[in-house]
């Protein structure tokens, strides 16, 4: 069976698979074409896997199939059971698997290059690429494990998973030194004539440690960037493995994923007004609570859920600004119900989404979609920011920093961060559990404006009360 397919045929089938992957990503340009895109992705993967199975048909296909069935069943189970609020954890966990798989493949490639059709001993060029693929894969693995722990809130069980930044003196110098040592061992592996297992093993071990050290100083607020970054790394690891095995499919797929993650990291950094470097260096959100002090003399106006219901039901236009607090309170379905009632009353209701409203890129959109909020009611920040000036009532649910007008004031900690211009609307309703400051540790002048009414309480309870009061 093995000679049934020539190297050319295999490569052509891999080309078809690569095109399918590109179409899968292209489909995501709109919700209507996205499902067809996903089907292309599945088709591409099926072609890739079946082609490769045909290549090893004479080998130990039984064990491979068994591993695929077991792994696939676990994946399918998790995909079905996971809650949408847990999406960031799931994605982090999946990144770690890609990273680990890349490392294992790299070790197998050092051990027996012939099984990949690569000359044994490995040519120097392939060794360099293998070195890169391995350390990126190892960093992806251990970094993603830490990110997973932070996102899943396992900080109490294990200190490295703390969502607060874990910092120690000289951290960056240690990281730099380790990175240099790792590259040194990588070079030794690269230059050696034989397999050079020792250099390879030490290099890989250091990479695993580095992955941990790179992620621990990054605080919970920066997680959207971290996940995007690890997404990117997992792609580059796949591409690196593709280079060392001379496999174009892995290179194409890896590069697509790598650039996707890089672009998402960029978008997230911009939305948080952080430079990529400052996120990586970490420490943000460690002990900056002092900024909120000195606000004792300002007064807030608070009202009941009934007041809020009255204001919204009698408005012409309402914009809802959901933040992660909404998801924590599991209030999405109540909000969707409230929106329906308001629309029945003839109110124009829309949602305004800040790019970092959730805990990963696009997270809030998925949470609203799950609550069956039609996507044509949901607007991105850039599309709706001009509309606040002509809006009667804005309801802010569990969001804080992303609606903070201090972003327009020079000298404030968040100066320059893109925010939703909620303060321009006629009336602002803010639901919060208390007056505590947001992730950035900043006070929010929006809460003290004359046109602002605070509605204190759990988001779900408050929204449910509003729903009742609208009738």
């Amino acid at each position: 069976m093995a000679p049934a397919m020539s190297a050319n045929q295999i490569t052509l089938l891999y080309l078809v698979a690569s095109v399918c992957f590109i179409l899968a990503l292209k489909g995501l340009s709109s919700p209507t074409s996205a499902r067809r895109g996903n089907a292309f992705g599945i088709a591409g993967m099926a072609i890739a896997v079946l082609t490769t199975l045909a290549v090893i048909a004479k080998g130990r296909i039984d064990l491979v199939l068994l591993a695929m069935v077991v792994g696939g069943a676990i994946g399918a189970f998790v995909a079905r059971r996971v809650q949408m609020t847990q999406m960031p954890e799931l994605v982090a966990a999946m990144h770690s698997l890609v990273g680990m798989a890349a490392v294992l493949i790299a070790i197998a490639a050092v051990n027996n290059p012939a099984s990949f059709g690569v000359p044994d001993p490995l040519p120097t060029g392939n060794k360099l690429e293998l070195f890169i693929g391995t350390f990126v894969g190892a960093i992806t693995f251990s970094g993603s494990v830490i990110a997973f722990g932070k996102l899943a809130g396992l900080g109490k069980q294990f200190r490295l998973f703390s969502s607060a930044p874990v910092v120690f003196p000289g951290q960056h110098m240690v990281n730099l030194a380790l990175a240099l040592v790792m590259i040194g061992f990588g070079a030794a592996f690269f230059l050696a004539d034989d397999k050079a297992w020792t250099a390879f093993a030490v290099m890989t071990a250091i990479a695993f440690v580095l992955g941990v050290l790179i992620i621990i100083p990054i605080g919970g607020a920066d997680m959207p960037v971290v996940i995007s970054m690890l997404n990117s790394y997992s792609g580059w690891a796949a591409a690196g493995i593709g280079f060392s095995l001379n496999n174009s499919l892995l290179i194409v797929a890896g590069s697509l994923v790598g650039s996707s993650g890089a672009i998402l990291s960029y978008i997230m950094c911009k939305a948080m007004n952080r430079s990529f470097i400052s996120v990586i260096l970490g420490g943000f959100g460690a002990a900056e609570g002092t900024a909120a002090a000195g606000t004792g003399d300002k007064t807030v106006r608070s009202g009941s859920s009934e007041d809020a219901a009255f204001l919204m039901a009698n408005a012409e236009s309402v914009i809802i600004v959901p933040g992660y607090g909404l998801a924590v309170a599991r209030a999405q379905h109540a909000v969707a119900e409230m929106t329906e009632k308001l629309i029945e009353k003839g109110v124009n209701v829309r949602y305004a989404i800040h790019p970092v409203a959730g805990r990963m890129p696009g997270h809030m959109n998925v949470l609203l979609a799950e609550a069956e909020v039609p996507y044509d009611q949901v607007f991105e920040m850039d599309d709706i920011n001009g509309e606040f000036g002509t809006t009667d009532v804005v309801l802010v649910l569990g969001a804080n920093d992303v609606v903070n007008p201090l972003a327009y004031e020079k000298g404030s900690a968040i100066y320059g961060m893109p925010v939703l211009d909620v303060h321009k609307s006629r009336t602002v309703l803010v639901n919060k559990r208390s007056m505590a400051s947001g992730y950035a540790g900043l006070d929010n002048p929006l809460f003290y404006m004359d046109k602002t009414m605070m509605v204190f309480g759990d988001a779900k309870k408050v929204v449910e009360e509003i729903v009742k009061a609208i009738d």
């Binding site: 992957f21 996903n38 695929m68 994946g75 099984s115």
Partner: protein, 104 residues
């Protein structure tokens, strides 16, 4: 001009072109679908399963092929999990067209 092109050079060509394609395709993705984008790219990057299958391939079992089998399992979790969870999310983005009920 003589001699054959080093495979690494060809790989580099594929790589650079793919990064360009990726850059342009990803910027066109609507921000509302960034989470499905991450889960589907996750599934796509587990195309390393191809490398894992090759590693597991040789009929004489050795240390490397065992690692290959393990890698196949890990990548398979991602392939199935990534595509299915993406599908699940995209279904949510579909349901909500109350006016277009007849089209399904």
């Amino acid at each position: 001009m003589s001699g054959t092109v080093d495979p690494t050079v060809l790989n580099l060509m594929v790589f650079v072109l793919a990064v360009f394609v990726g850059y342009h395709v990803i910027w066109n993705v609507t921000p509302a679908l960034h989470t499905p984008l991450m889960s589907v790219t996750n599934a796509i990057s587990s195309v390393v399963i191809v490398g894992a299958i090759l590693a597991a391939g040789p009929s004489d079992p050795d240390f490397g092929s065992i690692l290959g089998v393990v890698a196949v399992g890990l990548a398979a979790v991602n392939v199935a999990g990534g595509f299915l969870v993406t599908q699940r999310m995209l279904e949510m983005f579909k349901k909500k067209q109350p006016k277009a009920k007849g089209s399904e």
